[in-house]
C-alpha cells in the first residue's frame, strides 16, 4: 500500500517537472492530449479491465461531455466551471439509465450494442445543426479561468489537464484497491460466483459504467475548453477503437498501463509523420503485433522482456 503511494508520488512529480525539459515547444501540446487520452483510457479500463465489460462507444460519452460543455458555454453563456459538472451529471444519468438494459448483454453483443450507441450519439451531433453547428463544428468555446488566470497556452493547459488526470488516476487506484475494486474483479472472473458471494453484480456493473461515462465526459469537457472548438468527426467510431487500443496495449486492469497506452498511441503519429501515407499500415501492423507478442500489454510485457534479456545474459556469463 505504501509502495503504491510512493510510486504515485514519483509519477506525479515526474509529470509536474516534465515541462521544464520541453521549453513550451510543440511537444507540450501533444502532452496535453496524452493527458486527455489517459483519462479516457482509465475510464474505459475501469469498465473493461476491472469489471470485464467491453465498450466500443466511449467516444460518444467523450463527445457528449465536449458538446454539452461547448453548447452551454457558447449559446447559453454559462460559466465553464458550472457547465462541466452539469455535463458530467447529464452524461452520468444517461449512462446509468442505459446501463441497465445494455449491461445485461455479454461479450460481442455488448460490444455491438455500445458501438451502436456510440454511432447514434455521433449521428445526433451531426444532425442537430441548430444546436451543435452540425458537421462544421462549434467554435468560440471559452477557455477555463481560475482567479483571473486564463488557461489559453499549452503550458497552462498542461498543468490543468494533468492536474485533473492525476486526480482521476489517484481516485482510480484507490477504487481498484478498495472493496469495490475487489468486487469488480470478482464479477470479471465469474459473475455467478460473485453473485453467490453476495455481490450485487448488476447494480455494480451499471455503477461502474456510469462512473466510466462521467470520467469520459469530464475529459470531453476539458478537451472542448482547451481546443475551443469541437466537431463531430473527433467523436466517431474510430476514436472509440483508438481508446480501446490504448487500454489493451497499455495493459488491461492497470492504471499506469492506461497511461502508457495513451502516451504511446498519442505520440506514435509523431514518430510516423515521415512515413506519410504508410502510417495507417504501420498502425494496423503494430496493433496486431502487440496482441500477438505482448498480450498482457506494455505494463506486463516490458518487465517480462527485460527479465528475459537479463536472465539470458546472466546465463551467458555463467557459461
Amino acid at each position: 500500500m505504501k509502495r503504491d503511494l510512493l510510486l504515485f508520488i514519483a509519477f506525479a512529480l515526474l509529470i509536474m517537472v516534465a515541462p521544464h525539459f520541453f521549453h513550451g515547444g510543440y511537444l507540450m501540446n501533444v502532452l496535453v492530449f496524452v493527458g486527455i487520452n489517459t483519462m479516457l483510457a482509465i475510464a474505459l479500463n475501469l469498465l473493461l479491465g476491472y469489471a470485464g465489460q467491453i465498450s466500443l462507444g466511449h467516444a460518444g460519452f467523450f463527445g457528449l461531455g465536449a458538446y454539452i460543455s461547448g453548447v452551454l458555454t457558447t449559446t447559453y453563456a454559462l460559466n465553464p466551471w458550472s457547465a462541466m459538472p452539469l455535463a458530467a451529471l447529464v452524461v452520468g444519468c444517461l449512462a446509468y439509465l442505459i446501463g441497465f438494459p445494455i449491461l445485461k448483454l455479454k461479450g460481442h453483443y455488448l460490444a455491438m450494442a455500445t458501438l451502436g450507441l456510440g454511432i447514434i450519439i455521433y449521428i445526433v451531433f451531426n444532425e442537430t445543426v441548430d444546436l451543435t453547428g452540425g458537421p462544421s463544428g462549434l467554435s468560440g468555446i471559452p477557455n477555463l479561468e481560475v482567479a483571473g488566470v486564463v488557461f489559453d497556452s499549452d503550458v497552462k493547459n498542461y498543468y490543468l489537464i494533468w492536474g485533473v488526470t492525476l486526480a482521476v488516476m489517484l481516485f482510480s487506484l484507490n477504487l481498484a484497491n478498495s472493496r469495490i475494486g475487489r468486487a469488480l474483479r470478482a464479477v470479471h472472473d465469474s459473475e455467478v460466483a460473485a453473485q453467490v458471494l453476495g455481490v450485487n453484480s448488476r447494480v455494480l456493473k451499471v455503477q461502474i459504467f456510469a462512473l466510466s461515462a462521467v470520467i469520459s465526459s469530464l475529459a470531453g469537457s476539458l478537451y472542448a475548453h482547451t481546443m475551443t472548438f469541437v466537431s463531430p468527426a473527433s467523436f466517431g467510431f474510430n476514436f472509440s477503437i483508438e481508446v480501446l487500443t490504448m487500454v489493451v496495449i497499455g495493459g488491461l486492469g492497470s492504471i499506469y498501463g492506461s497511461f502508457l497506452g495513451a502516451a504511446l498511441l498519442t505520440l506514435l503519429p509523431e514518430f510516423l509523420r515521415g512515413a506519410n501515407d504508410y502510417d495507417i499500415i504501420i498502425y494496423g501492423a503494430l496493433l496486431m503485433i502487440m496482441v500477438m507478442f505482448m498480450p498482457g500489454g506494455l505494463v506486463r510485457g516490458i518487465p517480462a522482456l527485460y527479465r528475459k534479456i537479463f536472465k539470458q545474459k546472466g546465463e551467458g556469463d555463467n557459461a
Binding site: 473493461l48 467491453i54 438494459p101 445494455i102 445485461k104 448483454l105 455479454k106 461479450g107 460481442h108 453483443y109 460490444a111 455491438m112 450494442a113 458501438l115 451502436g116 450507441l117 454511432i119 447514434i120 449521428i123 445526433v124 451531426n126 444532425e127 465469474s190 455467478v192 467510431f237 477503437i241 480501446l244 487500443t245 489493451v248 488491461l252 501515407d277 504508410y278 495507417i280 499500415i281 498502425y283 494496423g284 501492423a285 503494430l286 496493433l287 496486431m288 496482441v291 500477438m292 498480450p295
Partner: protein, 293 residues
C-alpha cells in the same frame, strides 16, 4: 402515388438488404465456427470490388473471368489472414480477438489504399443499366443480379451445412467446439474453412454491389457494421434468419430515409439493433438460450 413510393422504398431496401445479408452470413459463419467476431469482414467486401477492377483493367479479363479470379484472390487473402493473425494468437481471449481483427482490418485497408489509391472507382454493370419498371417503381438489372446471386449463395450454404461431411462438422463446432474435437473433428481445419467461406462470400458481395455503389479502399467499414447488425438481428445464424435480418434492415432503412428523415437513416438501423438486443438478445427468431456457466 403513395403506394408507388413505398414500393420503390421497399425494392431499394431489398437489394441493399441482400448485401447486408451476405456480409452478415460471413460474420455468422466465422462466429459459429470460432467464436470470433471478424471485424475485418467488411474489408473483404472492399477487396472483392477492387480486385475485380484490377482484373478488368490491368489484366484485361472479361467480366465472367474477372469475378472468379477476384473471389479466388480474396479467399487466399482470407486464408493468409487466418494463418498469420488468428492461428498464432497465444491468448485468444474475446477482447484480443476483437483487437487483432480490428488491427487486421486497418492493415488491409491501408494496403488497399496504397495499391488502389484513395479515389473511388466505378465498375461496369453486369448487363447494362436500362431501368426495369415494376409497378410504379423502377430497378436496374444489377438489382436482379444481386437478388439472384444472394439466393444462389444461400441455397449452396444450406446444401453445404446440411448435406456434406465438412459442413456438418462445422455445425458441430458451432454447437460445442470441445465436443466436436473429442469426436475427431479437426477444429482448426474447420476454423480455416470458415475463413475461406466467409472471405469468399464477402468478396462476392463486394463484386455484385460495386456496379451500383462504386467502390473505394474505405467502403468496408460501414458495410461491415451493417452486415454485423443483420447477423445480430438474425441471432448469428448462418442461414435464413440472417438473410431476413439483412433484408429487414435494408427495407427499414430505406423506409426510414424516405418517410421519417434521411439524416437519421443510419441511426434508425442502430436503434433497431439496440431494441432487438435489449428485448430479444437471441435474435428476432431465435429461442432463448440458457447461459452456460
Amino acid at each position: 402515388m403513395q403506394f408507388d413510393q413505398i414500393l420503390q422504398y421497399s425494392l431499394s431496401g431489398l437489394s441493399t438488404g441482400a448485401i447486408y445479408a451476405l456480409i452478415g452470413i460471413g460474420f455468422s459463419i466465422i462466429y459459429n465456427a470460432t467464436g470470433i467476431i471478424n471485424f475485418a469482414q467488411g474489408e473483404f467486401v472492399m477487396l472483392g470490388g477492387l480486385v475485380t477492377l484490377s482484373c478488368l483493367e490491368l489484366l484485361q479479363l472479361p467480366l465472367w473471368a474477372a469475378i472468379p479470379c477476384a473471389v479466388a484472390v480474396c479467399t487466399v487473402i482470407g486464408v493468409l489472414f487466418e494463418r498469420l493473425a488468428i492461428r498464432p494468437l497465444r491468448q485468444p481471449t474475446p477482447i484480443n480477438l476483437v483487437i487483432i481483427t480490428i488491427g487486421g482490418s486497418i492493415l488491409i485497408r491501408g494496403l488497399a489504399m496504397l495499391v488502389w489509391g484513395k479515389d473511388t472507382h466505378a465498375i461496369p454493370p453486369f448487363s447494362g443499366d436500362t431501368p426495369i419498371a415494376i409497378g410504379g417503381a423502377t430497378i436496374l438489372p444489377q438489382h436482379l443480379w444481386i437478388l439472384a446471386i444472394t439466393l444462389i449463395i444461400i441455397i449452396f450454404n444450406k446444401l453445404y451445412f446440411y448435406h456434406t461431411i465438412s459442413g456438418k462438422a462445422m455445425r458441430a463446432c458451432s454447437y460445442n467446439r470441445r465436443a466436436a474435437g473429442l469426436v475427431g473433428i479437426d477444429v482448426r481445419r474447420m476454423v480455416l474453412f470458415s475463413f475461406i467461406i466467409s472471405s469468399a462470400m464477402g468478396a462476392v458481395a463486394g463484386i455484385i454491389v460495386a456496379p451500383l455503389t462504386m467502390t473505394a479502399y474505405d467502403v468496408g467499414v460501414m458495410l461491415g457494421l451493417k452486415g454485423f447488425c443483420a447477423a445480430i438481428i438474425g441471432g448469428m445464424s448462418s442461414g435464413i434468419s440472417t438473410v431476413i435480418g439483412g433484408l429487414l434492415l435494408g427495407i427499414l432503412e430505406s423506409l426510414g430515409a424516405g418517410l421519417i428523415s434521411s439524416g437519421y437513416k443510419d441511426a434508425i438501423a442502430f436503434i433497431i439493433l439496440l431494441l432487438i438486443l435489449f428485448l430479444r438478445p437471441q435474435g428476432l427468431f431465435g429461442k432463448a438460450d440458457s447461459e452456460r456457466v
